[in-house]
Amino acid sequence: MKLTEFKTVFLSGKGGVGKSTVSSALGLYFAEMGFRTLVVSLDPAHSLSLTFDTEIGEKPKEITQNLFAVEISPEKEAKRYLNRVKREARELLSPVVIGEIEKQIELAYYSPGALELATADVIYRVAISERKFERVIFDTAPSGYTVRMLTSPELTEEWFKRLIALRKEALKYKKMAGEKVEEDPVLRILERRLREVRELRHLLLSPETLIGIVVNPQTLPVEIGKRTVGELSAAGIEVKLIVGNKISSEEEKKLIEREFPQIPKIFIPAKKEEPKGVEKLEEIVKHLKVEL
């Protein structure tokens, strides 16, 4: 299978191994093969501006023909979402309750998993609901925690399903009691969340999605890479590619071969300086043109 056959790509790996560089080179490769491609950075330490050697912001910026890049901050996404909820609350709620509710909404920013779920929301929007590109590459993979939340139906889907059933039953009795029941916003929100969680799970499990791990031939990146493989496979997700980056000898190659048996690998030799800009990235692209 060629890499270009994957429509959505997530690259994971320890900080500094070259996720952004590899994502950028992969984006360039896809674009050269004629696919309209978006490279997305969700990393708080955005580095696409460095790899493409041009300022990149929250709106997709054209790099070369067919190639676009964007840097999105899940923190900002979370704040925007919570501000919207707060606005709605102020519109709809009585002064008696609004103070406490506003506090609860603000606290949700610090609730466990908030940023992971905000990341999942960004992925949903860019890769599914507002998708405008044939190929989308994320320089970050969802964390083990997020993947577990999204892939174990008992955890999330069942939970939403039961809440939906509860609300529906309550509305049914209300209706039987003669109350007028209109389109229910609570039900609408719960059903939308359930749909999103399902679609994200399908995306992560899709044969057209590539989840890869970038490693360097050192202990820490390799160990963290192995841990990620374990976490993902426990959640039923297969890591389909290991990118050995900054390889400078046959021994280093063999080390990675040994540590990740049975997973297809690509090796990228160490460069004297960090590749910056499209021209330098071309040197990496030739290593990506392989059959898996």
Partner: protein, 89 residues
């Protein structure tokens, strides 16, 4: 006499159907309280891993919270009842 009988009939029909309506409304309220308990579990000291998602419901259920709090204070085992119906997230 006929008029009187009619009135009696009406009275009983009203009494019966009203209590049926009450029962339905009560049932709806109990179910809705369970939902509120799940969404507001943090107020009872139970962490909610979906808190980030469920706050989105607050603008639409917020006005029901004071009533919920009052009813919760009356109950013996709110938590076990909710766990029985919904399960942990």
């Amino acid at each position: 006499m006929k008029e009187w009988l009619k009135a009696v009939k009406l009275f009983f029909r009203g009494a019966v159907s009203d209590s049926a309506t009450d029962k339905l409304e009560y049932k709806a309220a109990v179910l809705n309280d369970t939902l509120l308990t799940v969404v507001l579990s943090e107020r009872l000291g139970i962490p909610n891993p979906m808190a980030y998602y469920t706050v989105e419901l607050l603008p639409y259920i917020g006005n029901e919270i004071p009533g919920w709090e009052r009813r919760m204070a009356d109950r013996e085992s709110v938590i076990s009842r909710v766990m029985g119906e919904v399960g942990e997230p």
